[in-house]
Symmetry: C2
Subunit: 352 residues, 2 copies
């Protein structure tokens, strides 16, 4: 599998941790710091240690797992550890974890002494196929996601499918939704391949194709003006469903599970408004139906869901801008949808 | 006075607040936010309001005055106000104040929603001649200065000498030290001009020349590898004196007052080691002697001062790297000084 060149850095697939060792040697860093969370310390660090050695070659900084850690207080904690360890401008930060670790670690590194080098080792499917490309770092504030952050590219990204072995099934499903999205918006052949693959433990080849697609989209439109909106497919409704679930459900949906709901609804809208055929809609519904458990959307939640869609930063005022499919493998941006249409699509999902 | 072009942005001198109004109009910003501290709200905001209008055209965010505010807690406060005001990605932040406001405001803006536009209106002499150029933003953590920050250029800088009228004398003297430094390292004619000017209220022409000099140095060496070290003249000893004073004096030295002490000491070292003539040393001593009150340096503080010099990020290990003068208007970097030499220079200052 070829190394992918993103915005000034490489994303390694083949033998990637050997590449990491080379990268560190060539970088002449004063010191390496590995950032983990409680889970990746247990499940992912041992593999890394086989390459870096167990002692003396780096300092370890561990934070609590989960989105609740993705805030400024934890940044201050990590900054202070870097200070205590005497990290200077030639230090390297190695972020080993899911999107929380790579987003927070990237932000901390991009602001420590006005920026030190960092590399990403994403250990969840979602962070490999999504967070690894695009240069977004960030943390939450006042429960607003990613409101504080920078655009800073890592110096390299290292992928390994070994990490998936310890991932809970729902984490696999979460990343898978973004992969299915990549197929739906840009590459019908990839979508077909996903349909027929064993998706309980996705292969690195599949990850590679997803990263390629996201990389192409992001490189063409680094500042989210045009075609990057393609990546929003499923997200207008999905984000609202995700936030609503977080506020109301005892066991909330993951990001990908919510996006899966959103993609079914927005596929229906695509069929109504953008030319997606009945057969293609049926196919999309079938694929998601097999993979994802049905989510209950109560009738009386529609107004709240619509309000959430309006608040989404990608929309202005009353009009809700959706990215839809003209057919499988092809998207169309800036489709204005009304409240009625959006609620009808939720209703459609409910009847399935 | 000509507008100075720095790294992708303009620094306006002539009619600068009229230029600001134009800048805002052309920028099509969704909203402007003015950041002030208690003092600049009183002394500087009224002038700005004459141009922006008093009501409705911007939201005001005020923080406490002083270096104690330059930390992450105050950043969180400002970020939350931006959120509460509904600031979006097309918002503009206008930092109206001294270096604390321009450094903190720049950092907050460069990280809010991964970066919104900001402009600087520096209101102290120090912030006009120094902080306005170079793209450094930042805040302190654990009393380590500027340890968290970014390199982000403002979209424009607007200078006005009117602000100096309300500045305390010691704040004038603080900025003046950097101006004298600019003359000493790069421009003998400017140094001569400063010597014969009324420096109780420096003219915008003088500020302009200082900004030009700093801009040339920084543009040639954006990442502090070579000639940017010229700007360190007086700072090796000056920083140590500043920190020591902060820790021990009831009324600590300002940055510039400490740098003035440092420049006298380092002029003596320049005479001993780098070719500065006896006459030039005498001239430098006389100019600083007239402008700055004598600072007491106790004999038993020398070891502590030397330790502080060693900790300075610009040095490695035992060797202390100084920028010295070969003559007035010409510098030489990377002069290695021993503990004895440095202490002798402090002793020299004390005997004056
Ligand atoms: N920067 C971007 O462009 C981008 C893109 C998408 C998502 N994100 C961010 O990513 C975050 C979500 O990503 P995520 O789902 O990876 O979150 P996460 O980092 O919270 O990981 C999910 C859970 O899996 C655990 N885990 C990680 N790797 C494991 C492994 N190999 N084995 C067992 N457990 C493991 C983690 O400890 C955590 O409990 C969100 O904060 C989101 O904002 C960022
Ligand atoms: N970014 C850079 O390149 C750079 C360069 C030099 C200094 N700095 C930073 O700048 C800071 C020091 O700058 P400073 O001395 O301007 O600090 P400051 O902002 O604290 O200002 C000094 C005092 O003057 C008050 N003040 C400001 N303008 C006034 C006016 N017009 N009239 C009356 N009072 C006024 C302030 O409220 C404050 O009390 C430090 O934090 C330093 O790290 C940054
Ligand atoms: Zn997503
Ligand atoms: Zn200085």
């Amino acid at each position: 599998m070829e190394t992918i060149q993103s915005n000034g850095y490489n994303i390694y697939f083949e033998d990637s941790l050997t590449q990491l060792v080379k990268f560190i040697e060539q970088g002449k860093y004063s010191r390496s710091f590995v950032l983990t969370d409680e889970n990746t310390s247990v499940h992912c660090l041992p593999l890394l240690q086989q390459y870096l050695g167990e002692d003396g070659n780096y300092d370890l900084i561990e934070i609590n797992a989960g989105e609740e850690s993705k805030n400024i207080d934890f940044c201050v904690g990590v900054w202070k550890m870097l200070i205590d360890f005497g990290a200077d401008r030639k230090a390297l930060m190695i972020n080993l974890g899911g999107g929380v670790i790579t987003d927070l670690g990237g932000f901390v590194a991009s602001t420590y002494k006005r920026g030190i080098d960092f590399v990403q080792i994403p250990t969840t499917l979602l962070s490999q196929v999504d967070a690894s490309v695009g240069g977004k770092t960030g943390v939450d504030l006042d429960s607003i996601k990613n409101i504080i952050g920078t655009f800073t590219q890592p110096k390299a990204v290292f992928m390994a499918a070994e990490f998936f072995k310890t991932l809970p099934d729902r984490q696999i499903l979460s990343g898978l939704a973004e992969m299915l999205k990549h197929g739906l918006i840009c590459d019908a052949a990839y979508w077909d391949k996903l349909k027929t693959s064993d998706l309980s433990l996705p292969s690195l080849e599949l990850v590679h194709r997803s990263v390629e697609i996201k990389n192409e989209v992001v490189t063409e439109d680094p500042h989210e003006h045009g075609i990057r909106k393609a990546l929003n497919f499923g997200h207008t409704i999905g984000h609202a469903v995700e936030t609503y679930s977080m506020l109301h459900d005892s066991d909330p949906l993951t990001h990908g599970e919510a996006i899966a709901v959103g993609m079914v609804c927005e596929a229906w809208l695509s069929n109504k408004k953008a030319g997606l055929s009945d057969a293609e809609l049926a196919e999309i519904v079938e694929v998601f139906g097999k993979l994802y458990p049905k989510h209950k959307i109560a009738d009386d939640s529609y107004p709240a869901l619509f309000t959430l869609m309006q608040k989404d930063k990608k929309n202005q005022g009353n009009k809700i801008n959706c990215t839809l499919l003209t057919r499988i493998g092809q998207f169309s941006i800036d489709n204005i949808c009304t409240e009625d249409e959006l609620c009808d699509s939720l209703r459609y999902y409910t009847t399935l």
